[in-house]
């Protein structure tokens, strides 16, 4: 199909390569400057919002402190462990439930009911059971993240082309090779979407557990910094957690690109 000739003939100038990135950096700098001017001019009380330079200076100090990296490691460990468990549970359950029509029909109402239950509802329970230790965070992370994966996998398995499925059956594919060659390739983009959503949700719940229950990690440190009145430190840690969030998003997108290299949606993007 050739669409090039019939597309709208817009004389829109193509941007110079890199100019978008430059504008983006300019945007970040602008935010930084506003953050510097507001407290310095007295429009905002500097005790609530310290100037950007102070926050960044504090961030620079924090980053060279080995303690920071230990805490970051704890946060990342809880996140990664919870996400991995959620992936195994979500993909495993999703493939089994999705492939057996009886299970799919029998579980759909239960899944629709359990999924919207906010995992923060479990906070009091995990506090009683585990206190402020890693398992508390894990329960919250796994509960929240598994639904994201499970639901995507179910969509994915439902999306398998019936003709391909019947063809596989005619050729007497074993259950395993039907799964490997028919179901899995269709479901994979959905699995990866589930992974991307779950990665973000898992970080939110990990930080929640640290902040609210006091599971050791960066979130707990933010709570301590705020209640002890260390304002620049609070902001610096929030920025650090935000950068961790950016890293998680970028990682998830990179994995998506890599796993789905062969898939039309990614190939089209690259072209």
């Amino acid at each position: 199909m050739s669409t090039a000739s019939i597309g709208p003939s817009r004389s829109r100038r193509l941007p110079l390569p890199g100019s978008d990135a430059l504008l983006g950096v300019l945007g970040l700098v602008t935010v930084g400057v506003v953050g510097e001017v507001l407290p310095r001019s007295g429009l905002v009380n500097p005790h609530y919002l310290p100037p950007t330079s102070q926050i960044l200076a504090r961030l620079a100090q924090i980053v060279v402190d080995p303690d920071f990296w230990t805490l970051l490691g704890l946060t990342v460990r809880g996140w990664a462990l919870g996400l991995a468990l959620a992936m195994v549970l979500g993909v495993g359950l999703g493939l089994v439930i999705g492939s057996v029509p009886f299970l799919r029909d029998a579980t759909s109402s239960t899944i629709e009911f359990l999924r919207p239950i906010p995992s923060v509802a479990l906070i009091p329970l995990v506090v009683l059971l585990f206190g402020s230790r890693l398992p508390s965070a894990l329960v919250l992370v796994v509960y929240a993240a598994t639904w994201q994966v499970l639901v995507q996998v179910l969509y994915g398995v439902a999306d398998v082309d019936p003709v391909a499925r019947d063809t596989a059956r005619s050729y007497r594919f074993s259950v395993f090779s039907t799964g490997r060659h028919v179901v899995w390739p269709t479901a994979l983009p959905y699995v990866v979407t589930g992974f991307r959503l779950a990665a973000a949700v898992a970080l939110i719940l990990e930080i929640t557990a640290e902040l609210v229950i006091g599971v050791p990690g960066l979130g707990q440190t933010i709570g301590v910094a705020q209640s002890s009145g260390a304002v620049p430190e609070t902001y610096a840690l929030v920025i650090a957690v935000g950068l961790l969030g950016v890293a998680v998003n970028l990682l998830a997108r990179a994995i998506e690109k890599r796993v789905l290299r062969w898939h039309p949606s990614v190939r089209r993007d690259a072209a």
Binding site: P15, L28, P118, I204, I207, Q226, V241, L244, V248
Partner: protein
Amino acid sequence: MTPLTVLRRLGYALGLPLVLVAVWWFASAGSTSPFWPPLSTIVAKFPGTWFSGRMTEDVLPSVVRLLVGYALAVVAGVAVGMLVGLSRRVRAFTEPTLEFFRAVPPPVLVPLIALFLGYTGSTSKVITIALGCVWPVLLNTVEGVRGVDEVLLDTARCYHLSRRSRLVHVVLRGASPQIAAGARQALSIGVILMVISELFGANRGLGASIVQFQRGFAIPEMWTGIIMLGLLGFVLSLVFRLVEHRALAWYRGLRDANRGA
């Protein structure tokens, strides 16, 4: 639908939930563990715990805060998202900043907002919810506006549709499936923030009540709270689905038509 298919559907919908509740009921029946009280005890405590004042003094204010914060976030997110999404330059200028704000896990907003407003009143909680929910709506609106069919836009221009009706009928409508996806993400973030915004300082509200029960070792009451919160989450998602179903009916029709073609 024949009565038999209705019956079968009902069986599928209610079968597993009934089995699970029954398993919970009987497995916990003789339980002496303080953390896992019998379901019969929890059910017996439910009315006394929630329907003697708590519903209006704790649950309702929590839900109102959630809805106000959420509504603010959706309106602001869609409005700013349209502005940003319509111009390529504005988009490039703001994208990294917005991506950063979205990546900040919303719960850390609580200590930051506590710096400004303290954390006792309703305002700080509503602001927390709004600030946490706005990013998925905003970024999805930007994506949706960017994806609006160019041909449609040009056609609308050719027919001299006013700028206002172009925005409402072409851009907003074209972006609405994406906006709905963002709004759904935002809703679950909103519920999380509703709960944890109540855990800071001496507070009332649904989330605060549950934690007070837990701290006072009123375990059956705590369980009624967990069930209450679960029901609230379920009802909210049901309402959301109904609204979305109505608002996006045109989109489903279009998609099915495209698939059939």
